[in-house]
Structures are given as structure tokens and as C-alpha cells.
């Protein structure tokens, strides 16, 4: 049976009160919400591991209030989208192709692409593949290169141990460490997260077999080892984003320990000297949990200006 937002616990539904929609992408069923006027400038909000569209719930209202169209997909393998068990489905290239298919199927034009975590490598790969459809780009707690990698991702304790052979399927699959304790440890206001959000992430990844992507995606992060599987794709990504001259903005969590702002936000500014920011907000890796509304206002202002500038270059400011 296909679950929708209406099938989720009332507390989750009330915080994400949007209509479930589905679209077939790259051979899989993707869940998304699509709110606001269909002819308004679209903003595409992309999440990573192990989240789903719910992560953006507090950012959506300010974007809608600004008159924008908001499209929020659940990456295949997460949320209310299809969750293939076969690990070979979950390559970076397949996930990028999923988003390209979404952009094509919805015929998004003049889109502002907003990237968090794996929403970065996948969303930027999609943007580079469909550059004529994008107006602007925003990044937060994400990356698109091989070096520097995150010290957190290079360390055995706990990150590499968590997804090591056999340990990964147990700790992240059987024991659901990522949507459970993992997210809890990566927000600032943990009691609020436990009260308002935890259930939303665990309820959509209820069975061990549904959590395959939570331990296969960490294995796709290049950290300079011979076993890296995505180095070539990330080199292509870096070359591509360096050449991008779209309006860009950088938002980051002050307390981010996974992608520290002094390394990763700074790197985005080196790649995009024209980018706005860094807009620092309260937040660790899942900064939307602590500062979702503030992020929504920052994105609404940025997307509105970028769209206006695209239509009237003389009015960029």
C-alpha cells in the first residue's frame, strides 16, 4: 500500500499539512509536495540522509507567503517515496537521475535549487545536467568535491565504524541509528526535536529493510581511500559548480560538526566568490530543525530577488 501524509501520526500531519503527490522517476515512485501557485517561480528543497520533506516544514510557509511555488521531494529510499532494498539502486548517479527526472516531469523552469546534505551532490548534479532550468542555487551543510573531506567522515569512531561491512546493516539497518539517535545528536535543541520531530523520521523508516539507504549513502562519501566509489563523479561536480555563475547563497549552522562552516561554507565562497552569506543560523547538521523558519525567510528573500534579477537584470538589487 502506498502511504501518504494523511496516513502518518496526527502530530506529524499537523506540522506538514500538505497534499501528497507521486511521480514516477527513473523507474521508481517518488513522493513530493507541490504548494503555491503553479505559475509562480519554483523553489526546489532537497534533503539528505536520513530525512524527508518534513525536514523543510518550517521553511515552507515563508516561501509560500512570498508568493513562490515550493516543491519538496522525498529522495527515493526515504520518506514516503519507494524504498528499494537492492543496494545497487542507491548509487549517487541513480539518485541524481531521479531528481533530473523530477525536474523534467514537473517541467520546472526558473527554479531555485536548495541543497542540504546529499541534496547537494544529487541536486547540483541535476542542476548541472539541466542548467537552463535553474535561476539560483542555495547550499547548506553540504559539499560537492573530494577534498577537503570532513574530519567527521574520515574518522573511524564513530562514523566509519557505523557503516563498516556488517556493522552498517546492523547498526543503521536493524538498530535504526540514523533516524533515531543520529539525528537527535545532530540538532541543538534536542528536547524539542524529541518532542516534535523524532517520530516523523522514525515512522517512515519503520522496518530494517526500509533503511538500506541510511547505510549505503555514507559509503558513497569520498574520503581519499582506494575504496571510494564516487571520486570521479565528485570531481565532475566540482568542475561543474566552479563554472556556475548563477546567483548563489550559503546558509550554515553555527554548531555544525559534520561540515564545519569554517571549512565547508568557506569552501563554497572560494568556489563561488559572488555567493551571498554565509548566513549563520542556530543549528548543527540538521539546521532546519533549529532554524527552519529563519531559513525559510532567508530563502524567500533570496529566491525572490534572484527571480526578479533573472527577468530584469537591471533590478538585481
Amino acid at each position: 500500500m502506498t502511504r501518504t501524509i494523511d496516513d502518518l501520526p496526527p502530530a506529524v500531519r499537523s506540522r506538514y499539512p500538505y497534499r501528497s503527490r507521486f511521480v514516477q522517476v527513473n523507474g521508481r515512485r517518488m513522493h513530493y509536495v507541490d504548494e503555491g501557485p503553479p505559475d509562480a517561480p519554483p523553489v526546489l528543497l532537497l534533503h539528505g540522509n536520513p530525512a524527508w520533506g518534513y525536514l523543510w516544514r518550517d521553511a515552507v510557509p515563508p516561501l509560500l507567503a512570498a508568493g513562490l511555488r515550493v516543491v519538496v521531494p522525498d529522495q527515493i529510499g526515504f520518506g514516503l517515496s519507494e524504498k528499494p532494498h537492492t543496494h545497487a539502486v542507491h548509487t549517487l548517479d541513480n539518485h541524481t537521475a531521479n531528481l533530473i527526472a523530477l525536474i523534467d516531469r514537473l517541467d520546472l523552469r526558473g527554479v531555485t535549487v536548495v541543497c542540504h546534505d546529499w541534496g547537494g551532490p544529487t541536486g547540483l548534479g541535476a542542476l548541472l545536467s539541466r542548467p537552463h532550468r535553474a535561476t539560483a542555487v542555495a547550499v547548506m551543510s553540504t559539499w560537492a568535491w573530494t577534498t577537503p573531506s570532513s574530519a567527521f567522515h574520515r574518522s573511524v569512531l564513530p562514523w566509519r565504524m557505523m557503516h563498516a561491512p556488517l556493522v552498517g546493516p546492523y547498526l543503521l539497518g536493524t538498530r535504526a541509528a540514523m533516524p533515531g539517535r543520529g539525528m537527535y545528536l545532530s540538532v541543538v535543541d534536542r528536547s524539542r526535536f524529541a518532542e516534535e520531530s523524532q517520530e516523523a523520521y522514525t515512522t517512515v523508516l519503520g522496518d530494517a529493510d526500509e533503511r538500506t539507504l541510511t547505510w549505503t549513502w555514507p559509503r558513497s562519501i569520498p574520503i581519499g581511500l582506494p575504496s571510494d566509489t564516487t571520486g570521479a563523479r565528485f570531481r565532475w561536480l566540482e568542475e561543474g559548480v566552479r563554472a556556475l555563475r548563477l546567483p548563489a547563497t550559503v546558509l550554515w549552522g553555527r554548531e555544525d560538526e559534520v561540515f564545519p562552516s569554517d571549512v565547508f561554507a568557506a569552501r563554497w565562497h572560494e568556489i563561488w566568490p559572488h555567493a551571498e552569506g554565509t548566513h549563520l543560523v542556530t543549528g548543527k547538521h540538521f539546521l532546519q530543525e533549529d532554524s527552519g523558519t529563519e531559513i525559510g525567510h532567508l530563502l524567500a528573500d533570496f529566491a525572490t530577488r534572484a527571480t526578479r534579477a533573472a527577468h530584469d537584470p537591471g533590478a538585481a538589487r
Partner: protein, 134 residues
């Protein structure tokens, strides 16, 4: 807390037992040293797809079923099955403790930068019951 797993000869596999899959790892070579340890321990370099590996934990038996995948060195993956007599259901708590003991044995056996101590610390951070009981 379960005892240290013991590598058993295939001849010790108990008769009239069935396998209950507990864990599937499709990519044991994600860190190649894990594949090397399993190949070394169960003689897989020379045997390729032969019989499964056998472990016992406190007298309970676990089978390691090795998987092959085109284009990937063997074994590409491994399933861990609990061996249970006849139609007896799985005792999930016991199997979970034993599985954790197997993971500690595995990580320690791989060695180098991998240690059971770090596994236990990781398990405690993420509140894995078997790790918290240690």
C-alpha cells in the same frame, strides 16, 4: 553478554537445523580488509563458492553464507544466519547478543584501525542494547 565466537569446521553443522537470516551485507569489500579477513578465516581464497562458514557462540550455531557478484572479488557479500532446530522460532534477544559478539569478533579480527573497543563505544553512542550491557 555472549562468549567469543568460535570458528567451527563445516562437519560440526548441526543436522536438522534451518537458517534464519539475521543480517545481509551486500558489499563486504567496502573496506577490503573486511573481505580479506573473512577470506582468510574461512579459506575462501582457494575454495571460492563452496560451503558456508560456521561459527558457534555459547553452543549456538551461526552460518555465514558468502555471496558472489559479477565484476566483484569473491566474496562480494555475506549473510549471517542463525541455525535453529526444526521449526523452533528465533529467540531475538539471544540472537541479538550473539550477533553483537560476532561483530566484535569480526572487527577485532580485521584489526589495524578497527577495534572491538571502538565498536562498543559506537554502539553505546547509538544506544545499542548489546553494547550497553557490556
Amino acid at each position: 553478554m555472549s562468549a567469543l565466537p568460535i570458528v567451527e569446521p563445516a562437519a560440526n553443522r548441526p543436522t536438522s537445523h534451518r537458517g534464519v537470516p539475521l543480517l545481509t551485507e551486500p558489499s563486504v569489500g567496502h573496506y577490503p580488509e573486511f573481505r580479506a579477513f573473512l577470506a582468510r578465516t574461512f579459506g575462501l581464497d582457494t575454495d571460492r563458492i563452496g560451503g558456508p562458514g560456521l561459527l558457534s557462540v555459547d553452543g549456538r550455531f551461526y552460518e555465514l553464507v558468502f555471496l558472489g557478484r559479477s565484476g566483484t572479488p569473491f566474496p562480494s557479500g555475506v549473510e549471517i544466519h542463525a541455525l535453529l532446530p526444526g521449526l523452533e522460532p528465533l529467540d531475538e534477544d539471544v540472537a541479538d547478543r550473539d550477533l553483537w559478539a560476532v561483530l566484535e569478533w569480526l572487527v577485532d579480527g580485521v584489526g589495524g584501525e578497527w577495534s572491538a573497543e571502538d565498536l562498543v563505544t559506537t554502539g553505546r553512542i547509538y544506544r545499542v542494547p548489546a553494547a550497553e550491557q557490556k
